[in-house]
Amino acid sequence: MIANYGYKDGSGEYYISIDTDKCIGCAAERACLTACPKQMFEIITDDYDDEVAWIKKPNCRTLSYDCADCKPSGGYTSLPCMTACTPGAIKHSW
């Protein structure tokens, strides 16, 4: 399942997509949990009883601010979450 967390507002579209099929038996040992400096990721049991990552609810409404420090303007050349998630489950829309 592709789970999209985030929003669209007057300034743009801010979504983090997680391919939860890749989280099942995660080959990166849940690296997203520790890689994100804002600790936005959490492992949950989803509606179909799979243990997958999601973005914590409060962050879903503030993504553009929460992630700003990790984006190129913050000095990063690659995002810590995407680098840590070697199965390639995480995508950012902006």
Partner: protein, 206 residues
Amino acid sequence: MSSAPVTVVNVPFAHKAITEIACHARGANYMGGNGVRTILDMGGQDCKAIHCDEKGKVTNFLMNDKCAAGTGRGMEVISDLMQIPIAELGPRSFDIDADVDAVSSVCVVFAKSEALGLLKAGYTKNKVIAAYCQAMAERVVSLLERIGVEEGFFITGGIAKNPGVVKRIEKLLGIKAIDTKVDSQIAGALGAALFGYTLMSKKAAA
């Protein structure tokens, strides 16, 4: 480890919490048949775009609950502003001489002041409603396009009853929504009941 958003505070006897997203997909699959693939839920407070498989299992979803644009709440604001009952907004949005452009703002607060500006500029109430319905349709279509639109389109939630929005969405997507005789507003509850039924049937058989 936590599980999906739990709201057992309201339902103390609940065994399990299932997200509204999964419930709407399951309900839409039951109401619209196993050909349903793309679901739009326009509820009172949020709007969801869902893609599901032939069993009603979610394969892709997106939810907007940050702002009221594309929700029943947004429609209520316009109904209040125009002093026109919400059920009349859809039909009245077609009672115009020619198609109008959408109000430019997706934000309900700005759309409200824009609507007032249009009235002052001489727009009829019906034209303003049409412009707002068009904006709402464009807004939710952009959510649907993010998850990918496939034939087998089903709309749930209260705004499924507003032809002013539904027909404009159909026009923008170039596909017709599946008709149902069941009340579109109960899709989520129906899906939850189906999940509960499956769970209890499994328990009984164990």
